[in-house]
């Protein structure tokens, strides 16, 4: 499993290259199994890290152009995903919540940071 971008990121972070390799394999498996984005807490659970460590590793891959940071908006009452946006500006354009049948205010929602693939390495066909 490799791509020029991924190799560059590992070379720039030699002390955590092995961890990045494990994370890369995890992301690839997640995408292969139909997930469209990677959630830090799930990556942490699968790799035996804490949320903060997983987030930092995912940010490193995002900084290297392999992933893109996105935001999942959840209904605060039901926990259902209402929208996924890639720009914080779009957080103000919240769609109608069908389960509650109302337009929630931003304070009534939960925002989760996730990471979507941004490189051929992490696509279904890779």
């Amino acid at each position: 499993m490799s791509s020029p971008k991924f190799e560059r990121v590992k070379r720039s972070n030699p002390r955590i290259a092995e961890l990045l390799e494990r994370l890369g394999t995890y992301i690839q498996n997640q995408i292969q199994s139909g997930q469209t984005y990677v959630v830090p807490k799930l990556a942490a659970a699968a790799l035996g890290l804490n949320d903060g460590e997983a987030f930092v590793l995912l940010e490193i891959l995002a900084a290297g152009g392999l992933l893109q940071r996105i935001y999942n908006l959840y209904c605060g009452n039901t926990g259902i995903v209402l929208a996924t946006v890639d720009d914080p500006e779009q957080l103000d354009e919240i769609p109608h919540c069908d389960d509650c049948d109302e337009d929630h205010r931003l304070s009534g929602l939960k925002v989760e940071v996730a990471f979507a693939p941004n490189d051929a390495l992490f696509t279904k066909a890779a």
Partner: protein, 333 residues
């Protein structure tokens, strides 16, 4: 507590206003933990019982005051655990007193009741002993609810207590806060009065007082450890709430049992439990494996997503201190 009269009636009149603020279940559990009779199931009955015990010299009034301060500092709390990073160098006895005085505290020899302090972040006391700092703030917030006719809002003043316990030996700070009411003095960046703004204001206050960064302790690893712990089980799992690798959230609630005894839960856990992200779990800590610290099952809700532990309104300081110490020993360092 002052001791002006020793008849049963005088004692009763003196302690009743204070006991009225403490849950009956909690008082009963506390009496049981100090090996005193506790068979009273209403507020009036337990007030009589405690008055009799003081009048009969079975219970010292000072011990009661100490216990009630403990209830004030442990009941109905959201508890946040932090690792203290980049603390000022040297022993806290050297650098901390100046910071405490600047923050409006006078160093005290003993804990005291908060009283009816209304201003936001009113200092109550600070106590530094053996590498352990204990600080209490108090304030008044407003509870709002609709009136009986449904055409107006009734505001009720509610006193809030916030307690910071900093363990300099282990580098851990514990911040206990009564949950926020609707109306208080804290606003977010958008000018809205939110509960998060209230919690954040105290996180900032605590970090400022300690002169360090406060890094939240990861509670998911604590939940994982508690779920895995089987022989013996230290807690009964009442609600399991996790997210699987496909990002499906699953919530399992048990009756008076443990969700780990559910065959369906066991099947799923055996197959993929090692990759679940533990989100929010409710536990009843079991007395039989508490080395005598608990005399009843004690409820805690661990919200690993938001990073806090919630304890009920009838908990004594001894119970909460035991539970937090159990959580701390299971934290992945």
């Amino acid at each position: 507590m002052a001791n002006p009269g020793n008849s049963r009636e005088e004692i009763r009149a003196r302690i009743k206003p204070v006991l009225d603020n403490v849950a009956v279940d909690g008082l009963r559990a506390w009496l049981k933990s100090i090996a005193l009779p506790s068979a009273a199931y209403s507020r009036a009955a337990i007030t009589d019982l405690v008055s009799n015990q003081i009048a009969g010299k079975q219970l010292a009034e000072d011990a009661l005051a100490e216990a009630l301060i403990g209830f004030e500092e442990a009941s109905d709390m959201r508890i946040y655990l932090f690792r203290m990073e980049d603390l000022p160098s040297g022993k806290p006895e050297r650098w901390l007193p100046t910071r405490l005085v600047k923050a409006g505290f006078a160093l005290a020899d003993s804990r005291i009741f908060a009283g009816e302090k209304a201003k936001p972040m009113s200092p109550v006391y600070a106590r530094l002993e053996g590498g352990l700092l204990r600080v209490k703030w108090a304030e008044q917030q407003q509870r709002s609810k609709m009136n009986e006719r449904g055409d107006g809002v009734v505001l009720t003043p509610v006193f809030k207590r916030v307690v910071l316990i900093a363990d300099f030996m282990d580098g851990i700070a514990e911040l206990r806060l009564n949950p926020a009411e609707r109306i208080h003095a804290y606003e977010d960046a958008g000018g809205r009065m939110t509960a998060e703004a209230y919690y954040q204001a105290y996180f900032d206050k605590a970090a400022d007082l300690l002169g360090c960064r406060l890094a939240p302790v990861d509670l998911r690893s604590v939940v994982r450890a508690l779920v895995e712990e089987e022989n013996p089980r230290v807690a009964r799992i009442h609600i399991d709430d996790h997210t699987n690798q496909s990002n499906y959230k699953t919530k399992t609630t048990g009756p008076r049992a443990d969700v780990r005894d559910s065959p369906d839960w066991q099947l799923a856990y055996t197959k993929s439990g090692n990759t679940w992200a533990w989100d929010a779990q409710s536990f009843y800590w079991l007395p039989k494996v508490s080395s005598g610290f608990l005399t009843r099952e004690v409820f805690t809700h661990i919200n690993a997503e938001e990073g806090f532990i919630k304890v009920n309104a009838d908990c004594s300081d001894k119970e909460v201190t035991h539970v937090i110490s159990q959580i701390r020993t299971r934290e992945a360092k």
